[in-house]
């Protein structure tokens, strides 16, 4: 029998065809989707915003590389997840934050929240959210030193100003002409990024829509059926940034469809509770981290029904014969 000895064949388990989508491609898409928000931040807050974005991304990648090297594991910076985390942290701080603080935040996110638990996919809380919360509790003054865009006057966030005369208009909220963190101010840029992620099928619509929808609905009724209140609450604070880019983090959100729904509604309700009754003006970070921790339990409750294992299956069998 003729055997062509020159041919070396690869043997592997099926399937032999795959989607072109890769982990790196997904992370690259997230970085692209964040670009409008980054550009808006730089536009409004100038070089300082650009510096924080660059330093934070660089530091996050460095910590990922350094820690993996230290513990002798495979280098994972090429999956770009550390770059995403670094950039998200920068978008979650005010443009006035001292640079050394953001480096601490990167360390906490990458080393403590992510690598201590096993690296990508194994962390139980969103690293960027964990870092933001540590910063908020450790350096409350610096984390609340918000400035007006362009003229850099000291101001408060729209949530702190809600209901006062100084409250920005909805239009200002939409384009981002108000105080806030680098990435959260321009709702329009964030929505643009979110649409890109939806089109590229990186995220599903469930989490952002249920999260934002819950906040809008609760705020609508909480303020006596006020559409203005609902819109104001949706467009201000870190809600859109959180709902589109942070709550959708794969590792820390449920994999099941109904789990995603419960998780997102939970995020929305906790955000509203904190905003309405808490001493903090903003509740998005805390709501996401609480739901992150509940994710394994939500998943357990919403396991998909195995085809042929449910009541419907038995009925179908009996009914049709």
């Amino acid at each position: 029998m003729l055997i062509n000895m020159n041919i070396k064949l690869t043997v592997s388990s099926s399937p032999h065809v795959h989607t072109p989508m890769t982990t790196r491609g997904i992370m690259r898409d997230v970085l692209i989707a964040l670009m409008p928000a980054v550009l808006a931040g730089i536009c409004f807050f100038g070089a300082r915003a650009a510096l924080l974005c660059a330093v934070s991304t660089g530091a996050a990648v460095f910590f990922e590389w350094g820690f993996r090297k230290l513990i002798g594991r495979k280098n994972t910076i090429s999956d770009l997840s550390a770059a995403v985390t670094g950039l998200l942290i920068a978008l979650n701080v005010p443009p006035t934050l001292p640079v050394w603080m953001i480096i601490i935040a990167d360390f906490i996110a990458i080393v403590v929240a992510k690598q201590f638990f096993g690296g990508i996919g194994e962390n139980f809380v969103n690293p960027a959210i964990a870092a933001r919360i540590i910063l908020m509790t450790s350096f409350p003054k610096e984390m609340n030193a918000f400035i007006e865009p362009v003229d850099a006057m000291t101001t408060a966030t729209p949530l702190a100003l809600a209901g006062t005369d100084a409250a920005p208009s909805l239009w200002q909220l939409l384009i981002g002409y108000h105080g806030g963190t680098i990435g959260e101010v321009c709702a329009l840029a964030l929505i643009l990024g979110g649409v890109y992620l939806l089109v590229r099928r990186v995220i599903r619509w469930i989490i952002p829509v249920c999260f934002i929808g819950t906040v809008a609905a609760v705020m609508f009724f909480a303020d006596g059926c006020s559409l203005y209140s609902a819109a104001y609450q949706v467009l201000s604070g870190g809600l859109i940034l959180g709902a589109v880019f942070m709550a959708t983090d794969y590792s820390t959100s449920p994999v099941t469809t109904w789990g995603k729904v419960i998780y997102a509604i939970g995020c929305g309700l906790i955000t509203c509770l904190i905003r309405l009754f808490g001493s903090l003006a903003e509740g998005v970070s805390f709501s996401i981290i609480i739901m992150n921790i509940l994710t394994p339990h939500i998943e357990k409750l919403t396991m998909p029904v195995v085809f042929g294992a449910d009541e419907k299956g038995r009925k179908a069998k009996e009914g049709s014969l």
Partner: protein, 452 residues
Amino acid sequence: MDIAKGLHSPLRKFRGGVPADHQKNAADIPLQSIPVPGTVAIALSQSIGAPCSPLVAVGDHVYAGQKIGDSDKTISAPVHASVSGKVIAVGEIVLSNGIKCQGITIESDGKREDCPDISPPVIESLEDFLNAVRESGLVGMGGAGFPTHAKLRSALKSEPAVDTLIINAAECEPYICVDNRECMEYPQNIINGIRALVQWIGFKQVIIGVEDNKPKGLERLLNCLGEECNADMDIKVSSLHSRYPQGAEKMMIYVTTGRIVPIGKLPSDVGCVVMNVETCSVIGRYLRTGRPVISRSITVDGDAIDGPYNLRVPIGTSIQDIIDYCGGFTEPPYKIILGGPMMGLALSDTTAPICKQNNAILAFRQTSISRLVKWDCIRCGRCVEACPMGLVPEKLERYARYRNVEKLKELNVMACMECGSCAFHCPGNRSLVQYMKMGKQLIREEAQKNVN
């Protein structure tokens, strides 16, 4: 009963799966027979079940169609010489999956002379019919390789009685076109096969399921059924949504009838028998001619080989002989797959013989098929969305790695049909199917341990 000749499109859809990129390049290429190969190696174990014992010895002359191996076990099917010539070896041969089994090697005389005994079987009773199916050496030709007579016998025993015959011509695997060619070229055999099955097994309805990306095959079947005006059978031709794994037995039953096969049960438990279209066609042909399964259709395609081709090849022809007939490789292949790209077997060499259940040989270059980098699981949930069975591959992979048999059982790993939809969608390129197989093996091993 009314004759339903219209095209029927089920509205039901199964969960998950892979959207169609079916690459049916060979759909319009007619079947052609390859020249009689110099030697053929006929495996004595070509089906699930007991291997056959050889009925011939080295030096014997055999005719094409002569029975050369048989077994007295229920779950087994006889094997026949696929060419005429001289038996040159009876002994160990290596199959495509690397498993060694007994086989009979025949040096052909280049003629493929038919056995003089071949004559259409005389069928007067159900027992005659089942024996005829057995004697034809028929096994599930869609890939399962389960002896057809054994499947029919077990279906006849089911309580309540089976009422629905589903002819599976979905052909949801990319590239493969042999079922389509069967519908195009031998619709009469298919209909004759159905008629015999309805007559003897007593099916009340027959559904032929074809994916809607093969409109010509659908049309040919419909036309042919239209000519059969005297048919007293309820035959529906069902145009199915093109989505892998539409041809999986449980998906097929659900989509066409709405019945759900419970986990661990057989199609006959919900009153159905699903049969591959070529299998059905062979029944029709055997009853008319008495020629057993000594050849089958194979699609040859892929970007490392000239083609595409749809070939009729004698059982036992080596894969290399088929590749040579197609003009060899145009470029060094990176992977050669026996079967479809979703569930087929990657070959380590090309010496293995074709068995009754093989349906395609695909040769690919590296650039078109390889994904070398693997990433860690990021829990994106695409595998969960993709699983047609509603399993959670992300967790099953983890528990298989941890060898946690309890959890694997709890999450129903045994319900996995290894269709590969999860691994197709995995952005981390993780070997999910391999871990599913491992998880099932762990459960089997533990069951074995408990028995001992």
